[in-house]
Symmetry: C2
Subunit: 261 residues, 2 copies
């Protein structure tokens, strides 16, 4: 064993075609470079071409994001049969896009674990298919859905999960529901977890305490808070096919904290 | 808080239409009744009708089963960048059915986490679609696939994952590949984890140290070893629609140990 351990540890196990705007490191010192949104998108499209469909990704992201949220809510100390009368409350703010669908999947898994979930989703005549399928499943939990910010709680909740922003449709930010929801989040005193937040130049409307990136991180701004990385099940050769040399930084975990290097 | 906590804790939060052949309990004393295979099947069919497709279930089962397997393999102590030269080896034995597909999904997630995975799957001319889609994804990991027991390791592996049995096609047990694979598993000295093992009267060909049931447990025989329950993301009303009164026994976990009550 000693002979084997004497080999030097390689900390730079992930290399990307273009140097990212930021580098992160894991608790054990592995380097995790950031990638551009364009490369991230190509990575997901490549994964989809091998059968890792959006549906599967929604399920996996929902499970892992809810595992992180359950830890933030207090984990085993909070969720025992003995304090079933003091269930934590989560306000889940979703826009009408894939990021919103990821949030609803997370919300379903939280509601399945007896968390009180209030989902805010603005009314639209025509919804993305990924949203409607997530909503059908969410409606089978004990979770509550509202389409007006007025129906969100007046008092602080335990956690706000922010999935209002999409990586592409930045024009949504000008809509009244978006402004109302971000104002509500900024006025509620609960800590905010952002799932898959974008980096598109503009200031993020809601300051997060934690942000969860998927697969590989984008170069997130300060307002994204502490960055975590979520395993979304991409095999190594999928990274390779978009030019990324990859070795998992996750160890035995599926969500890990990242530190600015 | 004291006033709320004074309410008595209800330990029987799950009730089933027919009393199951066995009752289990969780670490915190919640009662988890077993259900029949027929009711389990109706539960999954109901979930599928609301959009919780086989694909989604495969993804979630794979994630949660691999989280359990990673813990059994030693968790953070075993999987650090420092002992990357001593990667654990898992032999994954799969039959040509949904149980096999669940195993391959678990194998992909393990291989994604730098576990050395050797997948045994017998050759068939026509495979179930769920199997071929899992195989495509598995082939993008560093995992190895073999179709002959001769190509499985001679030396003990760290863990055998058994997904050879289906709930319905018990005739597979008479096939030469089945016998060869179960003989191999019984001769290798590694501990065995069975995922979603059936209860169909016959003796289980491979004795398991642990068995992972999905959603709600069947009444497993002694040879199934220690029983664990895996959350597969079913919302409460889905249980209700097949006559099961359900409240999650999982707390903040997605895999929990069950004890014979």
């Amino acid at each position: 064993e000693n002979i084997l351990e004497a080999k030097p540890v390689v900390y730079r196990q992930i290399t990307v075609p273009q140097p990212g705007a930021k580098e992160y490191s894991t608790d054990s010192g592995l380097v995790v470079p950031s990638i551009s949104y364009e490369l991230h998108k190509r990575l997901l499209t490549m994964a989809e071409s091998y059968g890792l469909s959006l549906d599967r990704r929604l399920e996996m992201t929902g499970v892992c994001a809810s595992q992180m949220a359950l830890t933030l809510l207090g984990g085993p100390n909070r969720l025992t049969p003995k304090n079933v009368h003091q269930r934590p409350t989560v306000a889940l703010l979703c826009g009408p896009h894939v990021q919103g669908a990821q949030g609803i999947s997370c919300g379903r898994h939280l509601a399945n674990h007896e968390v009180e979930v209030i989902l805010f989703l603005p009314n639209f005549v025509k919804m993305l298919e990924a949203i409607t399928s997530e909503l059908t499943l969410f409606s089978k939990t004990g979770g509550k859905q509202v389409s007006s910010v007025k129906d969100l709680p007046d008092t602080p909740v335990d956690l706000v999960i922010n999935c209002l922003d999409s990586h592409e449709n930045t024009f949504l930010r000008d809509q009244p529901w978006y402004r109302a929801a971000t104002d509500w989040a900024n006025q509620n005193r609960a800590p905010v977890l952002s799932i898959d937040p974008p980096v598109n130049g503009q200031e993020q409307a809601v300051e997060a305490k934690w942000s969860l990136s998927l697969g590989l991180p984008l170069a997130l701004p300060e307002r994204a808070g502490r960055v975590y990385l979520c395993d979304i099940g991409l095999p190594r050769h999928v990274f390779q096919e978009v030019g990324i040399k990859y070795r998992s930084p996750f160890g035995c975990k599926f969500v890990i904290p990242l530190h600015s290097a």
